[in-house]
Symmetry: C2
Subunit: 621 residues, 2 copies
């Protein structure tokens, strides 16, 4: 069993009172915490009690933070800073921690002259050393004079005191140098014993004030756009031997269940350590934290639709879409439907509203994939959750969907659980599952990105946004490099309220077809409940895209949504929402189009919402 790297998390990453945060950090498997001062100040536990609580939980206190605006050109203010520091040194001794984060000053009286600044920090380090403590000096990206890691290192070198070293924070470094990686690589030349602490955070690449970006939009490693493996590799090459610690200010994490957030954060560090190790020799953290490479996913083995006992519309729709019921489970109320390589299980054993219950991916070594998922903190699911008797390993994705691993091909372990019906169907041209669309719970969108990235090795695309009728929706697709497994995740940009209910936003299964018009016509003729698309859409489409009249007429007749890309097109037909929260789609990709038809999603959503809205209007006020 590989060992974990030493990990820590700043209490500011997590929601709740200090006791909630500490408990969540321990549950997630962190070895230590950074105590964020406002969390301590608001706590009724004394520093000594916090020390004991952490010890009980098996947590070290790796850092006390932050100490702000220390240096000053004003002697009175400097004296006040020293006085303030003495108070904090007392708190640290009671906490039993030896390192305090000192941020570069943002105050008008901050010292500009590096030698004078170094002198003041030397004085503070001297006092810290008297208490057996040390200072980790950090350049805030918006510091008044010291705003790069190079500037902070220059000051630390000048001060030349054994109790003064650097704190490196990936956000402050990478937000200033997103495209200048040489400066990041230069960290490797800093003596490792002068890097006292390392804070890790990712972030989406945004064009905004860096202070606001930092305070609201940080993410855990692997959830954003920063090259953290390169950053971490440079820090490790320098010889840093301390913990990998998360410091993430995120508006959503501040409100979400801290146990979930902590698990997400811990997973992010393991995945980062793995990605860093994968970057080349000498880049690892000395251990293999995840226990093997991401599975080479070969395709979607099946999608399981969970539904309640009797829902004839679903069977009728599958039939109309050309699927044949090829198998019945030997012991459970589960049917297997097939067309081409697309396999859908309909599981009637639950009491659920109709929705996607499970997703099975094919990989050559399912047990290894499952072990890896477990190492990444994915909750294992017991076999009884499974659709089949075969011992398919399964874990729970952040939205509760079960994720199964199984061998590729028709002889996979799960197929023997079904008795063949002998039923066949001509089909309408469905060749495979193109992708699965999963509307995510508000608190877990970024967690889901990291989960599928780390557990399945899928690569996330960029984050998109579109204006749905009841509010903005954020979207992100993930796929393996060969595009054999695709997922499309969506979430409301803001948690919905009473006017714009967001739950349950429908999920969907997109089925690949070669010709959407042919397939949709066959489905329609067989009675599939295709979604009606407004005429206005086709008038607008005709204005935007030069389509042959007969093609446009077919689109209009069948409700085809056509998104034109630069080199190809994404064409889809959707069914109405079936009972519950599910619809099915037929998807044709023209010219290698790699998108998901998101530009048309507002039209699709409006059409799907129309019935709900009509119901609301009829309801008594």
């Amino acid at each position: 069993m590989p060992a974990d790297p030493r990990t820590a998390v700043a209490t500011v990453c997590l929601s709740g009172a200090l006791e909630d945060k500490l408990a969540a950090a321990a549950t997630a498997g962190f070895g230590g915490v950074e105590i964020f001062e406002p969390d301590l100040v608001a706590s009724p536990m004394s520093p000594g009690e916090i020390r004991l609580r952490c010890a009980d939980l098996g947590l070290s206190i790796d850092l006390y933070q932050p100490f702000r605006d220390f240096d000053s050109t004003d002697d009175d203010r400097l004296a006040a800073s020293y006085r303030r520091a003495e108070h904090k040194f007392g708190v640290m001794r009671a906490l039993g921690t030896d390192t305090v984060l000192v941020c570069s000053s943002v105050a008008p009286d901050a010292v500009a002259d590096p030698d004078r600044l170094a002198g003041q920090l030397h004085g503070l380090a001297e006092r810290a050393a008297d208490h057996g403590l040390r200072l980790a000096y950090e350049a805030l990206a918006w510091g008044r004079h010291v705003d790069t890691w190079e500037a902070s290192w220059d000051v630390v070198r000048r001060a030349d005191h054994p109790a003064l070293g650097l704190c490196l924070d990936s956000f402050h470094v990478l937000s200033r140098t997103p495209s200048h990686t040489t400066e990041v690589d230069g960290i490797a030349d800093v003596p490792g014993d002068k890097i006292f602490f390392l804070q890790l955070a990712d972030a989406p690449v945004l064009a905004m004030d860096v202070l606001q970006w930092s305070r609201h939009h940080r993410l855990f490693p692997g959830q954003g756009g920063f090259d953290l493996p390169r950053f971490l590799a440079a820090v490790l090459r320098a010889g840093y031997g301390g913990p990998l610690s998360l410091e993430v200010f995120n508006d959503v994490f501040r409100q979400a269940d801290p146990v979930r957030t902590a698990a997400d954060g811990h997973r992010s560090l393991l995945a980062l350590a793995e990605a860093t190790a994968a970057g080349g020799p000498g880049r690892g953290v000395g251990v293999d934290p995840v226990g093997g490479p991401a599975p080479d996913v070969a395709g979607t083995a099946f999608v399981e639709i969970a539904t309640s006992g009797d829902e004839p519309a679903l069977d009728d729709t599958l039939t109309a879409l050309g699927f044949a019921r090829t198998g019945r489970h030997l012991t459970k109320p589960v049917d297997r439907w097939e067309q081409g390589r697309a396999r859908i299980l309909v599981n009637r054993s639950g009491e659920h509203a109709t929705g996607i219950g499970a997703l099975a991916v094919e990989s050559a070594d399912p047990p290894a994939a499952a072990r890896r998922a477990a190492r990444l903190g994915a909750p294992a699911l017991s076999r009884s959750r499974g659709p089949a008797e075969a011992d398919l390993p399964a874990v729970a994705a952040p939205d509760g969907t079960a994720l199964f691993f199984c061998r590729p091909g028709t002889d996979a372990e799960w197929t023997g659980d079904f008795r063949a019906t002998g039923e066949t169907a001509e089909g309408i041209g469905v060749s495979a599952v193109d992708h699965v669309g999963l509307a995510q719970p508000f608190d877990h969108f970024d967690e889901a990105t990291l989960f599928y990235r780390a557990v399945l090795g899928l690569q996330p695309g960029g984050v998109g946004e579109f204006a749905a009728p009841f509010g903005l929706v954020r979207s992100r697709a993930l796929a393996d490099p060969a595009r054999r497994v695709r997922l499309a995740l969506t979430v409301s940009l803001l948690r919905r309220g009473e006017w714009a209910p967001g739950v349950p936003e429908p999920q969907y299964v997109a089925l690949a077809v070669d010709d959407v018009v042919v397939a949709a016509r066959a489905a329609r003729d067989a009675g599939a409940p295709l979604l009606a698309v407004p005429d206005n859409y086709y008038d607008d489409l005709a204005a935007r895209v030069d389509l042959p009249p007969d093609r446009l007429a077919a689109y209009r007749e069948l409700g085809v949504l056509h998104e034109q890309g630069p080199d190809g097109a994404y064409r889809q037909v959707c069914t109405e929402v079936l009972a519950g929260r599910l619809f099915l789609a037929l998807v044709e990709r023209v010219g290698g189009e790699d998108g998901y038809g998101w530009a048309d999603t507002p039209v699709r959503m409006a059409a799907h919402r129309r019935r709900r809205l009509a119901r609301r209007r009829l309801a008594p006020a």
Copy 2:
């Protein structure tokens, strides 16, 4: 009765399907709408049906928008633009609208040469004129070549076609020139008949990418930081005679009840017209839309606490805080409590959880203030909602709090409804109501700012943010210039979820005292349930602020929160949350301190939350 200016609203401002938006606009009193193309595209109503629907609702269709990326250096793309335009001209004729918004292009093939661009727009104007239509050309702040109103006017002048004029959008103008008002004043020199359309939006002053700023954070006039009266005055001086139309992209409004949002928007236009008229002669819109100046508020007449039948803690707490029950209502279960100029009514006639039911402000002419509020669309409340028999005019604030107007002084109309008890109390030094703290519903924070600004003439302060234990909280205070009436509004930065429940966030009444230590000690000795503040807070306070030891000891003993300002201090003591959602606070302002103690709010919230959290932990999972 003064007439309203002509008003319109873009459908993109409002949530829902197109039919919801049109109904909401009509209900709010708008005269017209801009049809935002994606709303039409997603609608099952044909353009002709939309025309009829609008006519039924009494709405004119003042604009069709937007037509994007028209001009091109590529002849094929230009030809496609012309083809696209012909389609849209057909839609406009079916809609029965004569003006289309043409945005400056953001495309790589946008035309840079102003004469060539003018030539292409002249060509488009010629075709529009053939259909009896006209083009309103707008400079997007992020346009590729045309990104200021001056550049758009230069092109329109060069094109010199009667069917081509300007669309001026306050966001695009003021986001580029927040501090360069000369350029705004220059709009007055544009011939009025060349300004075809006017779009109005406010915004908070933010340092971020202008495109993101525009698409997510626009606000209705009076809710943000732009000088819209000056902008509108310049447009009116130019001779513009069309409607005042709102175009606001706002993440919250996109999800909120469109009827509420539309009412808020309509109010914003009336208040803007009034503020513009108040700016000086020649600046008005030719009418007085609001019917009189904002009331000169003289103080808080009373705060009414609504509570259920029997809540002894409230009476006991008022008594311990030095209040005397000076009156009992003649016919209703309402008591009057007094101390100094602070008056609190306790109304036990409802079934409510304890909270602030009403706020009464003193003004010299209550009926005039109420008429003004009604003109601003504030929902009038019937007399039966009132605490008293006297005919106090009242309206509902956005969070449902009743807002009463009454004459100043002890002989005010409402005081006669109470039978004097003869009870008196020495008091603990409370002189008046300092302010009322109202936690706002998520969807209505900006609406509340505008409401109190427009209806009471209060001036909003800046927006602040603080990190509470369960998420970020946004805050905004409003006060009259003489600081006789103050309100402190707060809201969660994100709508809360299950982990961090946001409702009911407590409300509070802050009572002014001369010496918070003296008052708090008296209250504590009389049994008031003062909120315990952690020792850690005082250790941190001692580190930050140089306080005499005996003062610090008194703070610690009594739970005083002390926020040091540059010139003074804000000192407060809070009670525990009384049954329901209310606490009381004693507030001392030192040195004219104008703040609200927000830096200490996370500590206060953590202390108030502790009991709730303890309850949750004890509850079965």
